[in-house]
């Protein structure tokens, strides 16, 4: 029963949207589309709670055992607790007098600059990594290099200043070779997802039981 019931639930739940999509009947639409959509939003919110519980458990364990880097785990738990308290009880956005609620204040003046800092560091590491690792070792790498150089120049106003054709070449690369490759990737990924979905629907793949 431990296995059969979850599998039965998963099979029925995964078939509902398919039936709902294929049978344009009002009662099917009501029960298998609208109700299911509502349930999905609610279940997704519970998944968020599950994620928080998991993060707390893992990090609490680290702090208790004084594992390596436990200080970071403590900082994470404190931040999680404080921000949750601000978010749940302190409101969000602006107050009537124009001042910010604590949650929005911390988000705007602590979280945002920290995230922006992390992201902007990429420019420095990209420059360093490209100098050390982006090498023309073979034909493929050489083509990649030529493409990268054309796109990098073509996607800045300086490219237009160098020659009006430069941005047009960059746009051509984006529109044709890039689109062709992207289509291949997207169609491949979609076929993979469809195959995986069918495996879940018929109960061959059972990630919800903790194993395939």
């Amino acid at each position: 029963m431990k296995k059969q019931v979850p599998i039965l639930l998963a099979v029925v739940a995964s078939l509902c949207p398919v039936v709902g999509f294929l049978l344009p009947q009002p009662w099917v639409d009501e029960w298998m589309n609208r109700r299911l959509d509502e349930w999905m939003v609610i279940i997704a919110s519970f998944a968020l709670v599950l994620g928080v519980v998991s993060v707390v458990q893992v990090n609490l364990h680290k702090v208790r055992r004084r594992s390596r880097g436990w200080g970071f785990s403590l900082a994470l738990l404190l931040s999680l607790g404080i921000m949750s308290a601000f978010g749940l009880f302190g409101g969000q956005g602006e107050r009537a007098d124009g001042s910010l609620h604590p949650f929005t204040w911390v988000f705007q003046f602590a979280f945002s600059p920290l995230q922006a800092t992390m992201f902007s560091l990429l420019a420095f590491y990209v420059a360093s990594a490209s100098y050390r690792a982006f090498r023309v070792r073979n034909v493929e790498a050489s083509l990649l290099l030529v493409g990268a150089v054309l796109i990098m120049i073509g996607r800045i106003p300086l490219g237009q200043a160098i020659h009006p054709l430069v941005p047009q070449i960059a746009e051509w690369i984006m529109q044709f070779p890039n689109t062709a490759a992207q289509r291949g990737i997207i169609i491949g990924a979609a076929l993979g997802a469809a195959a995986m979905s069918i495996r879940v629907m018929v109960g061959i793949e059972r990630p919800y039981l903790g194993k395939s």
Partner: protein, 284 residues
Amino acid sequence: MKLARKLLLIDRRIIFLLVLAGAVIPILFPIGLAVQVSPPVRAVFQRVEALRPGQTLLLSFDYGPSDGPELDPMADAILRHCHKRGVKVVGLSLFPLGGVDMAFARLRQLATELGARDGEDWVNLGYKDGGQAAMKAMGDNLALVFPVDANGVPVGEIPLMRAVRNYNDVGLAVSLATSVLGEWWINLVNAQFGVDVAVGTTAVSAPKYYAFMEAKQAVGVIGGMKGASEYEELVAEAYPDLAGLSRTATVGMDVQSIVHLVILFFILFGNAMFLATRRTRQEA
């Protein structure tokens, strides 16, 4: 060739310093390079331009603070365009890591700048978890997913929302997306509900959206800070009275130009040194 080998092993802090100089100098001494508008951005602009005053644009803030420097200017330019034309804006967020706060900040600031009224010209519905499920449910009834706005006001009491029940009442949906959410807007909201969708995204993510655009599933794509600066340029051209307002992306393009040049220099110089040392090894 010893010199070439030494240069290949240059201290990375020197590279960091040069990148820093490339970022700071154009801020102190702006170059003001002209921005050329690309067809994907012009397509988005023209689609917004085609909306009649009073029609609704759904603007989804599907990004967090790390992508703010690229996507905030897009939000500002689109909001200016809408407010100027009298297009109503329904803002929302499906991105968990700060999307709702990005929406708060942009919608509030732009409304103050152009005198747009909360609840009448624009509304912020806040954040909802669930991604595709939320998108799908909004096709039936927006109030089902967002029963109250971000301030806790029931949507039934918001004048703007009385005319917006579901996607049928939306002229265009724009997702400013950093993750897979932009793709979902296209392959769910456009494909299943027939709503025109445009995507604004980071420069890194922009290439994948060209496939959707070429297939006419997306109206257009605004890619990275360059795309944002192009949209700013189009708005300034069409509405000269808005030209004097801050144009963050256009200013940022000077920095991006120089930093790109610095990175290109390192790529080409590194390869020149690499080829020189390889030739020496082969000769030896």
